[in-house]
Point group: C2
Chain length 364, copies 2
């Protein structure tokens, strides 16, 4: 088991990562002062429920916790105010009080949704994350929680840090292959923005990671979380540095919005977005090597690196201009300056990005 501490003053918390650590869930909760006197609510989704919920409930009940669980339909649609209202009804009926804890058992969807429940129920109760996807190594660090609005993703939310994160890599064995790869895309992003050695390790271990090798996963998730932790610790409320986490996301989010959420998973969209960022870098005069390595590593993980031809460039650009990372009209673009380093560039023109988007349709 590896342990990582996210340093945020009085809101600091640990991330535990390891195979089979679910067995220690009772002790870990107790160690972090989670009350047995107040009812606890576990939020999960319909896929994760089947594979993992009974085990989690059984262990927590054995440890003396009073558990209520609520299962939402799987998928992004559940990140809505409507579902939030349903969950809060369940919390009220189960008698959750200010000392209660809300537990997210699932991927980023459940984490963001249950996290916003925890942030807003009675103006804030305790929150614990039990991530069950690889992508969730990203979403479970940093305290960003949110639901979607029909007009915009993640627009209604809060910063709400968990008490702890319990990452049992054995839960990942049931994850569909496409979600495995999409999650690894964010892990690669963490390498590309911060740590060239980690990028090299990722490329060497692509096969192991894709096939869910326990040791490789534990190390990769630890390093991915570590990079995110460093960034978040330095900029909890996204005033500056934290923007580097958006590498590949400016284009990626626009693709998600344009393609509809079924065609491209988040990790797939940002994979294409990261190739786009590398192309922007080269156009700005940075080394061609950035583009070569970025593309090669994403392909080693079986991730998409070209943009579906049928997507309309105008639509993509207009989705991009509404993106909340455009601050008072200036484009803020995360540009890699070498492998393992990026800059927050506020002067990338929309025209250049448009050209890169067009070129991404022609990538092979």
């Amino acid at each position: 088991m590896r342990e990582l501490n996210v340093n945020l003053g009085e809101r600091s918390y640990p991330i535990y990562i390891g195979q089979g650590i679910m067995e220690q869930i009772g002790e870990l909760f107790a160690k972090h002062g989670i009350s047995k006197g107040s009812p606890m609510l576990i939020v999960t989704d319909s896929h994760v429920e089947q594979h993992h919920l009974p085990n989690v409930i059984r262990r927590l009940e054995a440890a003396g916790y009073k558990i209520t669980s609520y299962t939402v339909p799987f998928g992004e649609q559940s990140k809505s105010l409507r579902v939030l209202e349903d969950i809060i009804a369940v919390a009220l009926q189960a008698g959750l009080d200010r000392k209660s804890t809300v537990v997210a058992l699932g991927g980023g969807v459940v984490g963001d949704l249950a996290g916003f429940v925890a942030a807003s129920y009675m103006r804030g109760v305790k929150f614990i994350q039990i991530p069950t996807t690889i992508l969730a190594h990203d979403s479970s660090v940093g305290g960003k929680v949110a639901v979607n609005h029909p007009l915009a993703k993640n627009i209604i939310g809060a910063f709400h840090q968990p008490e702890l994160v319990l990452y049992d890599t054995s839960t990942l064995q049931t994850l569909p292959d496409r979600d495995v790869r999409a999650g690894l895309s964010e892990m690669i992003k963490h390498g590309l923005i911060w740590d060239a050695n980690f990028v090299a390790w990722l490329e060497e271990n692509a096969e192991k990671l894709v096939h869910l090798d326990a040791e490789a996963l534990e190390y990769g998730l630890y390093e991915g979380c570590r990079v995110k932790t460093i960034v978040v610790s330095q900029d909890e409320k996204e005033h500056g540095l934290r923007a580097i986490l958006n590498l590949g996301h400016t284009i990626g989010h626009a693709l998600e919005a344009t393609a509809g959420y079924n065609e491209l998973l988040h990790g797939e969209a940002i994979s294409i977005g990261m190739v786009g960022s590398a192309k922007v870098a080269v156009r700005l005069g940075y080394s061609e090597h950035i583009y070569t390595v970025t593309k090669r590593i994403l392909q080693a993980f079986g991730l998409p690196t070209s943009l579906p031809q049928h997507l309309d460039t105008d639509e993509i650009m207009s989705a991009m201009m509404h993106d909340k990372k455009f601050d008072e009209g200036n484009i803020v673009f995360i540009v890699p300056t070498e492998i393992g380093k990026v800059e927050i560039n506020k002067n990338v023109s929309a025209a250049l990005v448009r050209e890169v988007v067009e070129q991404l349709k022609l990538e092979v």
Copy 2:
């Protein structure tokens, strides 16, 4: 113009109170760093819109602000997730970004609702309160913002402090008499929990206040805000002391829930609740004088002091036991120990409260 500072470290903010201070709105906003580069959203309700919105928009536009406004139907019903979602659609369409400000122009309903919009839109933007009711001297201090759930009031919310509060007493001239008195009920509460001199002043100035005398209002609102400010500064997140603000509210909330929100205004319900608290105090051995003075002053303001006979005691009690101030099964009751002082008593039995509720039906 009086100025009061709410000390909350980096979240500190000023409250400006005075007749006609709306004329200085442009300068005050600018003084507190409110951006003219990003669009601003004013949220108001259908009553306040008629009387005050055009004036506020005109002055802010003259000062160079880009304004969008949104009017919700008046009344408690608007404090819902549904209305929140509508407002966020408007915010998105108006292009509000992270540097934007949400302004609440109205009473506690608009303040709580717009405040939760500001707390959750893009995970938090700036917030300004322009209270237009007397009750809002209470709701605009302390940073509690929330919407209701069909099953419970104020259960979905956040702590989100405003940048400033601008309290122009001349906006109160259009407030219906019943809302004037109900708002003064919270002002009396602030006296009863903290300041016997203020209680004496309130009793002497009851007539002036009820008739909206400008000077009396300015002083009363200032003192009311001051008491709340002291309490909130010492306990921002409601870990302890802040509970004393709930004098009269344990019974009051149960009455509101049982009577339906039309029969009793919040201030009326807590007026009855404060008489109940005084009766509890006497039953616990504190001076009879507490009861006499509490009742006399509330009557001087034309506030109700007896409980409507048709309300069912069982229903009231069961509404009370679901109240979120019952912490792990113990009743937490705010008991006056003399005029201007209260204690947080965790050992008041439900049986005693039930007897007092019954007696409140027989008060004259």
